[in-house]
């Protein structure tokens, strides 16, 4: 297809409006069906037995007693999920994580599973499974795990990325490095240098819907999977590979998804449910409990980061350096690498160097969490930037403006930037009324910037025009926060019809070509590109049908405002044909009218944000409260501005929780001590103020409407913005996230004592 993705600067009539979402009524009436809301005839209940140990050899699993329990229809262990990964180490890790093979690698690691007629029988059966463990020493802290004396989690892994190949295995699976210039020389030119070490604790995406699926495998090798996921096509590939099924014979239907934020990009329960169904010969429903979600899905990395930044008296940064250590759970990951790439992405730097270390720990396998790895790096860097501005005696916004990256700047991760929004978000912050508002007692103001890449990827859309002129849009990117509304707006824009004339659905894997996941803020960016392309393909057919009707050359027919129009004076007497009229005649002019698009939506524009917040710190208890919060972010083009605001607000709220409260707490025994929403406290309504938003629109040159991804960047600045505000409110520099009351109180008391 000759689809031109370049930005065209057109005027919009639908895009930019704020209609009600097409899936809205079902969601406010309780009709919408999520992962656990679906049932199949004759379905069994699946439950998973999990290791209570952080690190243990599995010597023997005896399932005989469980199998004999009345009502138990299948019991599986790793033996029922044989290794079909054919040397693909990443997939082998996924398999091992779904069901431990020789070792349990964290508290919560699945070791066996049952399918029974009801939940009570399944629970009883789990108690009858006997597992002999040989306990091994464990390590859960990222810095501890790097020490030579730390227990080895995988003795076949050697650090990648070192100049010389290591001779001993290590918990450090990879070293990566980015940057340019000469930082040593750069620091030599600095009048002021700030050097600090930071730690951030592990957090969970905290989606309210636990993982849930219903699997049905038939003896003829076909299978169905209903599941809440961010990417049903990816789940199909992974499940088919792990189960030895043909991908096209496994139909995966994505349910409504009750939040994912990166946490529903990986399979955990799904291959287990399929294996149980295959063995039992009946459908199996598997729903994780909240405890299982915390212990055994994919939280983000815990980190330990050193930052050094130097600047001249005039405020020019001369060099910046960071060492970043990210935990990846017990399997190799690339999380520190992303942290190392994003850390200094906001700034124009002649001399910059970042080094990342991926570290194995006995915790669940790290998964993506909204702009994965970027918030921790930004916390460290933006805290140090603020401190440096203070030392120089410059306003923190002015200091950042002076050093902000712009079009033509070489990014800290390598390439040169095109048009970008960091400067404009900072300028907007500088003039924002929030910056001038008076502060109360014990209150402080902080700000910080953030960056995220944004992705595109493989995308497929079908646009079908009904005989009555209504239009159905089938997309393959899961709708996590309103994309069916934004894609309907885009289709309405291209076709020149009313939004209400369209209905968008997320198609299952048998109804549409492959789509990458909804990750990397790509949902609206990628699928809108494919929707535009599909609509334009449909318009070609619509024009052709009008030309046939009129018996004139198709080149004389143009498409305007939802109508085919014969161009030229000689056609003056031909009345325009509406989409509806052409559709009604379609049976006689060549059959159904549809537009399809299969493309790789590449060229997602990078995104920047600046956040401002006011924090009040209670000096007696150390409790910090957000008093006011403002998000300023570049959207490229906000297709449905209300849902763009929603992304900004939601990301900020998650960042606030991360900054102030949320953390995985492990005991000395390596067990997670707060696997529930009571003790892992995410922000509630009374914790937060209104979250103000300002949408900037700096068009992405690689999208016809200028759209950039908007979903992730908003979680990047809050950790640092809040730390900077706490510093200004309480006079203490917090270097450990979360800044929970005991940590802030300890810092205040140390300051008073010292």
């Amino acid at each position: 297809m000759n689809f031109d993705p370049r930005f065209s600067g057109r005027k919009f009539s639908s895009v930019g409006t704020r209609p009600i979402r097409p899936d809205g009524v079902d969601k406010v009436t309780g009709r919408a069906r999520y992962g656990a809301d679906f049932n199949m005839a004759g379905q069994l209940v699946g439950r998973v037995l999990r290791s209570p140990h952080a690190h243990a050899k599995i010597l023997k699993i005896d399932t005989s007693k469980a199998e004999k329990l009345a009502g138990v229809k299948a019991v599986i262990t790793a033996a029922d999920l044989p290794d079909l990964t054919d040397g693909d180490s990443a997939m082998y890790d996924v398999l091992d994580n779904c069901m431990a093979r020789t070792k349990a690698l964290y508290d919560g690691h699945a070791v066996a599973a049952v399918a029974a007629v009801d939940a009570r029988t399944a629970r009883q059966a789990l108690k009858l499974i006997e597992v002999d463990y040989e306990l091994l020493p464990h390590v859960t802290d990222v810095d501890e795990a790097m020490k030579h004396t730390a227990p080895l989690i995988n003795d076949t892994l050697f650090t990648e990325g070192l100049e010389e190949k290591p001779v001993k295995p290590s918990n450090v699976t990879k070293r990566s490095q980015f940057g340019h210039g000469d930082v040593h020389q750069g620091f030599g030119h600095a009048d002021f240098i700030v050097e600090r070490s930071f730690k951030t604790e592990q957090t969970h995406q905290g989606y309210i819907e636990p993982h849930a699926c219903v699997a049905s495998v038939s003896s003829d090798g076909t299978a169905d999977l209903w599941v809440c996921t961010q990417g049903h096509f990816v789940y199909r590939q992974h499940c088919a590979q792990l189960l030895g099924l043909e991908a096209s014979k496994l139909r995966v239907t994505s349910s409504e998804i009750g939040g994912g934020f990166g946490g529903k990009t990986h399979v955990w329960a799904e291959p287990v449910a399929l294996a149980l169904s295959r063995k039992a010969g009946r459908p199996v429903k598997l729903v994780m409990t909240r405890d299982e979600v915390f212990r055994a899905s994919g939280p983000t990395s815990a980190t330990s980061i050193d930052v050094k930044i130097g600047a001249r008296k005039d405020g020019t940064i001369t060099a910046a350096e960071a060492t970043l250590r990210y935990s990846s759970g017990p399997y190799a990951g690339t999380w520190a690498e992303i942290g190392a790439m994003t850390a200094f992405a906001c700034y124009k730097l002649d001399n910059v160097k970042t080094v990342g270390f991926e570290v194995l720990v006995n915790r669940p396998k790290t998964a993506a969490y909204r702009a994965p790895s970027a918030p921790m790096a930004a916390f460290a860097v933006e805290s140090a930037v603020d401190e440096l501005a203070k030392e120089i005696g410059m306003d923190p916004v002015d200091f950042r403006i002076k050093n902000a990256a712009q079009e033509g700047t070489r990014s800290s991760y390598g390439p040169v930037y095109g048009p970008i929004g960091i400067g404009p978000t900072l300028e907007a912050a500088k003039t924002h009324p929030h910056m001038k508002a008076p502060l109360g007692k014990n209150q402080g103001r902080g700000m910080a910037c953030g960056f995220w890449f944004n992705f595109g990827g493989q995308t497929c859309v079908d646009l079908n025009i009904g005989m009555d002129g209504s239009v159905s849009l089938a997309v393959g990117t899961v709708d996590v926060g309103g994309s069916r509304a934004s894609l309907s707006l885009v289709a309405a824009e291209e076709l020149g019809i009313d939004y209400a004339q369209l209905k968008a659905v997320v198609a299952d894997t048998s109804s549409l070509g492959y789509n990458d996941m909804t990750d990397g803020s790509r949902g609206t960016f990628s699928s809108s590109m494919a929707t535009i392309s599909a609509a334009r393909n449909a318009i070609k057919i619509l024009r052709d049908r009008a030309a046939q009707t009129w018996d004139i050359p198709v080149d004389d027919v143009v498409w305007e405002n939802g109508h085919a129009i014969a161009k030229g004076e000689k056609y003056g007497n031909l009345a325009a044909l509406s989409l509806k009229e052409i559709a009604a005649a379609s049976g006689k002019t060549g059959g159904p009218i549809a537009g399809h698009s299969e493309l790789v939506a590449d060229g997602a524009g990078v995104s920047f944000a600046t956040h401002i917040c006011d924090i009040e710190v209670d000096p007696e208890t150390g409790a910090a409260r957000v008093v006011r919060y403002t998000v300023i972010q570049d959207a490229g083009k906000a297709v449905h501005p209300t849902y763009v605001e929603g992304q900004y607000q939601g990301g900020a709220a998650q960042g606030i929780g991360w900054a102030l409260n949320e953390e995985y707490i492990y005991g000395k025994d390596g067990r997670l001590q707060n696997a529930g929403f009571l003790d892992y406290r995410i922000p509630v309504c009374s914790d937060l103020p209104m979250i103000d938003t300002q949408i900037l629109e700096i068009p992405n040159p690689n999208h016809p409407y200028g759209v950039r991804g908007v979903g992730e960047t908003s979680i990047v600045p809050p950790l640092a913005a809040i730390a900077n505000a706490v510093s200004n409110a309480a006079g203490v520099r917090m270097t450990h996230i979360p800044m929970s009351p005991p940590r802030i109180l300890a810092a205040i008391e140390a300051e008073r004592g010292g």
Partner: protein
Amino acid sequence: MAGVAVSTTINGDHVEYLCQPDETLLDVLRDRLGLTGAKEGCGTGDCGACSIILDNRLVCSCLVLGAEAEGRIVETVEGMAHGDQLHPLQQKFLEHAALQCGICTPGFLIAAKDLLAKNPDPTEEEIRFGLAGNLCRCTGYDKIVRAVQDAATVMKKGV
């Protein structure tokens, strides 16, 4: 285990069911009665996704036994609209985009309905504390609070 016979009223309808003595009302609603509007987010009363109104009291249905519904009046999200006429809260949640993924929405709607029944003219702070038992991870609550404020205004006018 022998089942318990329960006779109750759900969304105005007389309903009878058999349930196990240790079965939660949430499981009864979802698995026995097909009312899947109430969601299980935690099963420990911490997230409010399973909120229902039981004899005019807001409760987490995951913390109530199915057998306890005997002779009582249960209201769930499925009973909020009258025919195709949405409840003002439902309408305002749509207009304000007070939902993204929507999994917490039924619980918030029920909690907000209970709040406005007891306090028809709440301040922002009263709304925030009134809804503090319900977790939302998508919205940051901003648009939820605005939707409830707007719905309260509409309901006071009796529109």
